[in-house]
């Protein structure tokens, strides 16, 4: 009996020992798994953007693009985020919505900009989406909703139209997990504070859009895909309490107004 026990323990140790020793090697680097993942994400980002570009109208107005670019650049600079990673696209659509696609594509609907009471509110929403990109929530969500195998097959078989459309729809009109949303909100507030942008208007914006009057409008996609907006507004306020009070605006009032004017046209 003792012999069996000793042999059994040695066998178990042998297995776990092999596992442990083997785990010390950086297999991810050897098999270039990270590179493969990055390539898949890049291809997916391109595929989704192609689909959106075909079905929606991109706004290439210089004033609009430059203004949003200033906001994003400012946020990235203050938070040491690689600016080249974020690719901004403004689409002409009444929906109050913004969302992130794989490989750093950030889609902003003109409806969101026009419905933002202040540039700080819009900056908050942008920060929230950048946080999703930085925290790799986009790929996590896609893998969870569609599955890695389908995603890889999408990149290797030149799309497969309907599947790509369906996946793009998931990203534009469905929420992340509650925990991921909160994580992105908190990260967004950190981004705002580091860039010296007041986070309060962002919380107010959430509060306003969750109002019944707004809820009944069919265009508020960003809120319908981000549930519990009141609760979110509350914890954003709570979290930003006691942080720095000296805030600044990224865009001048004139530029902000002119951005809205250009989008109205």
């Amino acid at each position: 009996m003792k012999k069996i026990l000793i042999q059994g323990i040695v066998t178990v140790f042998l297995f776990f020992g092999t596992w442990f020793i083997s785990a010390q090697i950086d297999w991810i680097k050897i098999f270039k798994i990270q590179q493969m993942t990055d390539k898949t994400e890049q291809k997916l980002g391109e595929l989704f953007w192609e689909v959106l570009k075909k079905n929606e109208k991109e706004n290439k107005n210089t004033c609009a693009v430059t203004s949003i670019d200033s906001i994003v650049t400012n946020i990235c600079k203050a938070n040491k985020i690689d600016r080249m990673k974020i690719k901004i696209h403004i689409l002409t659509k009444d929906d109050v919505n913004a969302f992130a696609l794989p490989n750093g594509h950030l889609i902003i609907y003109s409806g969101l900009i026009l419905n933002s009471d202040s540039q700080e509110a819009l900056t908050g929403v942008i920060c929230h989406e950048i946080a999703h990109i930085e925290l790799n929530h986009v790929m996590k969500k896609l893998v969870k909703e569609i599955g890695l195998s389908v995603l890889i097959s999408m990149t290797t078989s030149n799309g497969g139209g309907e599947v790509v459309k369906k996946a793009a729809k998931i990203l534009s009109s469905s929420a992340f997990d509650r925990s991921l949303e909160k994580e992105a909100d908190i990260k967004a507030v950190n981004y705002l504070i580091k860039a010296r942008v007041n986070p309060e208007p962002f919380a107010d914006f959430l509060y306003k859009l969750s109002d019944k009057e707004y809820e009944s409008t069919k265009y508020v996609t960003w809120i319908s895909t981000h549930p519990n907006s009141k609760e979110r507004a509350e914890y954003i306020i709570e979290y930003s309490k006691g942080k720095i009070t000296e805030y600044k605006s990224i865009l001048s009032l004139k530029t902000w107004n002119s951005l809205k004017e250009k989008l109205k046209d």
């Binding site: 009996m1 012999k3 069996i4 042999q7 059994g8 040695v10 066998t11 297995f15 092999t18 596992w19 442990f20 083997s22 785990a23 010390q24 090697i25 950086d26 297999w27 991810i28 098999f31 798994i33 996590k140 969500k141 893998v143 969870k144 599955g147 890695l148 195998s149």
Partner: protein, 142 residues
């Protein structure tokens, strides 16, 4: 790991054939069972149940074949569900996962080679005892 034990008994042609088949059964089941590890165990278990009331030699080897599959079932099942969770959930490939798969492959390969060797030797009527599994089998088969 494997050692030949002399037994004071000369198994008949039929016995060596059945005993050898118990290993072959697990061998075939490994191929089918790689994607679904429980198949290995079911196959050897059925063979064991069918031969548990036969002679000592056959019974002994059926038990050893079955026991060897039991431990593989655990490590293979864990690896199988880990892989499934990577494919279908947000779980990602890590060094730990790759290391586990490598350890599983090494153990399966060792088992595979040992099984082939034992099947051949048992067919010749040679009694082969495996490290650990042989000891448990001795403990079970009286």
């Amino acid at each position: 790991m494997i050692h030949i034990k002399k037994i004071n008994y000369e198994p008949s042609e039929h016995e060596t054939e059945t005993a050898s088949s118990s290993y072959l059964m697990s061998l075939i089941a490994i191929i089918v069972g790689l994607p679904l590890p429980i198949i290995n165990l079911i196959a050897t278990l059925m063979f064991y149940l069918g031969n548990r009331n036969t002679t000592y030699f056959v019974r002994w080897h059926c038990t050893q074949a079955l026991l060897s599959q039991l431990s593989l079932l655990f490590i293979n099942s864990f690896g199988f569900w880990w892989t499934i969770s990577i494919i279908f959930t947000e779980e990602i490939i890590t060094n730990k996962y790759i290391a586990y798969i490598i350890a599983v492959l090494i153990f399966n390969l060792t088992e595979f080679i040992a099984t082939i060797y034992t099947a051949i030797q048992t067919r010749k009527g040679i009694h082969i005892e495996w490290w650990f599994y042989g000891s448990i089998t001795n403990f079970i088969c009286k």
